[in-house]
């Protein structure tokens, strides 16, 4: 009896496998031509990205996305995982390409270009943010800050240097430079306490920065707290903030 039941199970199993194989063949026949077109456009887009032709790349990425979408409309069962992985790649590369377009050439040097960059970054969903390198994002803000700084629009420059450090991209030299510029702006505005904290932030990334130490001394002199110089020089920015509150 047990033998018969086993045999029946095996037959059912084989029948199921044959059914699955037929289903797979059918799905493959329908999906393969669509996937081939999607992959073809995806590769064309990659070639355009390589040559930094981001606008052309966007057109090809969109066509690839259109084909992946058509493939998904067939509700694939066996090809689903493969398509999902490809979709993840195409979205990531497309977002990267669009980002690179926004920072390419001299776009960030124009008011409109800077505006478009900010809009693009601010509209990224948390899922999309993972596709963009935080350093590139921070560098974009830093460049815009520099342009405003050179134009004498210090409030705007400060805003963008601040955005650059808030990205927390883990590149000490970028944070150092951004804090340095913020410190200079604050010093010129006679906001000595905040300038002092900015220069201490610079020193937290670059301990021996002579220029930052000079500016720090100027701040201490203006605030008339030069006697605390050595304490400040060995402090973290947060500790410095506390000490400023205590001594002033």
């Amino acid at each position: 009896m047990l033998y018969c039941s086993d045999m029946e199970d095996n037959i059912n199993n084989i029948e199921q496998k044959i059914k699955n194989l037929a289903e797979w063949n059918n799905e493959r026949a329908n999906i393969k031509p669509i996937l081939e077109s999607a992959v073809d456009y995806h590769n064309k887009a990659r070639r355009e990205v390589y040559w930094k032709n981001y606008e052309n790349a966007s057109k090809f990425f969109k066509q690839a996305i259109e084909y992946y979408r058509s493939a998904l409309k067939l509700n694939p069962k066996y090809y689903l995982q493969d398509i999902i992985e490809r979709v993840d790649f195409v979205i990531g590369e497309y977002m990267n390409s669009m980002f690179n377009f926004k920072i390419s050439d001299d776009r960030l040097k124009t008011e409109q270009g800077a505006k478009e960059f900010v809009e693009f970054v601010e509209n990224l969903s948390p899922e999309e943010e993972k596709y963009i390198d935080l350093y590139d994002m921070a560098l974009g803000y830093f460049k815009i800050g520099n342009i405003y700084n050179e134009d004498g629009n210090f409030d705007k420059a400060y805003e963008f240097f601040n955005r650059a450090v808030n990205i927390q991209c883990d590149r000490p030299f970028l944070n150092r430079d951004a804090y340095f510029k913020m410190g200079q702006i604050l010093l010129n505005k006679k906001r000595f306490k905040e300038a002092l904290t900015s220069f201490i932030s610079v020193l937290s990334f670059d301990k021996g920065n002579a220029e930052a130490v000079n500016y720090l001394d100027r701040c201490l002199k203006e605030l008339k707290i030069s006697e605390h110089r050595f304490k400040f020089l060995s402090m973290t920015p947060n500790e410095a903030k506390k000490l400023i509150m205590e001594v002033l």
């Binding site: 409309k73 689903l80 979709v87 497309y94």
Partner: protein, 103 residues
């Protein structure tokens, strides 16, 4: 949601993928435990039935109601439900891709 101890709980699913999903629960479910989930796809049909295994459990996070976040891997579901789930999932990705065509 109905787990192996026949405890009913209504909750909201998050992060549905082809292989799994996550949901919040009031009590701690240990990784490795199998749960029977009834998932409403909001397609005007009865919920689909999924057997899933708890793979990870997250803390309360920002949830004020102090619920655990459970990540499950789908182990099995009836064939009729599989087709509906597949369609639901593909529609979600299609909707997402359509957004990129407008950019």
């Amino acid at each position: 949601m109905l787990d192996y101890e026949q405890v009913f709980q209504f909750t909201r699913t998050e992060n549905i993928s082809a292989e799994g999903l996550s949901f919040a629960s009031g009590e701690l479910l240990k990784p490795g435990v199998y749960v029977q989930l009834e998932v409403d796809l909001e397609d005007a049909n009865p919920p689909i039935s999924i057997v899933a295994e708890i793979r990870w459990v997250g803390g309360f996070g920002m949830d004020k109601n102090k619920k655990y976040i459970n990540g499950v891997k789908i182990i099995n579901m009836p064939l009729k439900d599989e087709a509906r789930f597949l369609k639901y999932y593909c529609d979600k990705i299609i909707e997402k891709l359509s957004g990129y065509l407008k950019k």
